[in-house]
Amino acid sequence: MTAMSMAQALNAALRDALRADERVLVFGEDVGPLGGVFRVTDGLTKEFGEERCFDTPLAESGIVGLAVGMAMGGFRPVVEMQFDAFAYPAFEQIASHVAKTRNRTRGRVTLPMVIRVPFAGGIGGVEHHCDSSEAYYAHTPGLKVVTPATVEDAYWLLRDAIADPDPVIFMEPKRLYWSKEAFSPSGRRRAPGFGQAVVRREGRDATLVAYGPGVPVALQAAEAAAADGVSLEVVDLRTIVPFDDETVTSSVRKTGRCVVIQEAQGFAGVGAEIAARVQERCFHSLAAPVLRVTGFDIPYPPPKLEHAHLPDADRVLDAVDRLQFDDRPDVVHLSREAS
């Protein structure tokens, strides 16, 4: 099996979806002959023609609104927002129509469409190119929100999103576009189903819950902790909506401690929701408060300072240290006693 980057896996997913279903269409800004600024749509116009992969005028609300009309007309549009912050002009279309049309027609009009959003930072991008905007979408009933963290998931979650009967906001962590894995789209599917979180690394002492760009950070932290004899479990949400309470809570019930990781600014973010859900469901299993490791509550900083903002493995490990392993001997977790 050859190594493939996440951008290539996404490209393969689009190509295979276009081949498999003639209702699938791809459009947006620069997605045609250029292949998208991240090359995710590379070669699609050439292979499938201008009718199925095309450049639109530069207007995000129009792109999403066009997709709404096309989905009403029986197609399955996959549109690209060039960057996270440039999806904001489309927010009215997304919140008022994409999310609500099924409901306001009592299920008679459905919008099977995907809005791809390259998001988050870590690539030295300038302002407006690094926002973590997932909470806006996750807060909106009617939308499904996805963030792949692996090459394999990028492929399969995008295929799932395109096949899904509901509209999906597909958030692509920019800094993982070039990360490589041995993966073949034609191989047997190993990725779990849409809506299921997955335990990326098993551990005993605490659970790290992460999604998208936070997952490699969590895995790095777990690797470093292991060297110190601390065993961390890493849960990758994969889909923020639907949210897999079951996988998250069964992990936290086992470890008794939890740190939630998100790159986005912390206040009112997805991490706050996760922390609340864990606390509501696992209170009696928790030996310490659920902690969050997030970006700061600031506009995304300039390239020279993004390292100061982005949660890294050290910040995660600091949080793990604050999980009261030693402060309260009466609640020292069983697994530590055993080890």
Binding site: E51, T56, P57, A59, S61, G62, V64, G65, L66, A67, V68, G69, M70, A71, M72, G73, G74, F75, P89, E92, Q93, S96, H97, T101, R102, N103, R104, T105, R106, G107, R108, V109, T110, P141, G142, K144, D164, P165, D166, G195, V241, P242, F243, D245, E246
Partner: protein, 364 residues
Amino acid sequence: MSHHQVAGLLPAPDPVRFVAEDGTAVDPPAGYRAPADEQLAEAYRLMVLGRRFDRQATALTKQGRLAVYPSSLGQEACQVAGVLALGADDWLFPTYRDCVALVARGLDPVEVLTLLRGDWHCGYDPAAARVAPQCTPLATQTVHAVGMAEALRRKGEDAVVMAFVGDGGTSEGDFHEALNFAGVLRSPVVFFVQNNKYAISVPLARQTAAPALAYKGVGYGVRSEQVDGNDLVAVLSVLTEAVRHAREGGGPFLVEAHTYRMDAHTNADDATRYRDDEEVERWAAADPLARLETYLRERGLLDAAGVTAAREAAEEFAARVRDGLNADPETDPYELFDHVYADPTPQLREQRELLAAELTAPEE
């Protein structure tokens, strides 16, 4: 673009008119054909029906049977002509203002009023009627119309899509994005602006400095026209031409109809705060229904019996609306969770159970 091409896109300097306010025929500009006599008779019947429906809905709102009602009074020629210009396979993308168009399209009047009666959904089946759900976020439906037109074109259907929008709605970004997309894609769409002179309280002069809203097409390469919106004959003639143009591959078409909103914005609005009675009286003299009636009678296309028949049919229709709306709608609180997604998420299932527990708890 050459001057010649620009001229081909520009609207006539004055609104197209076939019938003067007093009901007498005037010479229309070249290029527009008078609709067939039978179509005018049908338009008359639908305008009488539409007006009666509108009066009934307004009355029911006062009685508390509707949560809110944006009246079409004065705009019946526009709404009926819009519908008559379309075929059964064409699509209509209406706004909240366009209930008369929907009943003219043949939709069940009680279904049409579902949302306004306080339910959460649009009532009718959009795909069956080829009428999109009535749209409230201003001008957002105009881009959907372009998308639908592109979908139909790709499927090889020669159907046309008509998007209704208000004068205020033309200031929204989506209106401009829709014109631009349709121009670039050469989509078979007709944008139909009902310029009723107000956006709630804000008059047209505060909405635009353009000589007329119809001039907004030229910048997007979209052919445009303006028409007297209270002259059914003219509106139907111009929209029929616009639909033909779009259907035959000529690309999008923008039509601005000059009309007037006779009632307040909705029953909840007080129009005396921003306009005077004389203005309303001036427009009352330009009433579209009276004008068409005079015109048809003078041309021998309508007689007293025809008028009576149309009014009786409208009365029957109004009775149906009354009966339908006087019955309390059945609302199922659990259905609120059913259509958020194709399958409710585990969280929605939990919340549904929570609500069930609340609703079935014994009273204390």
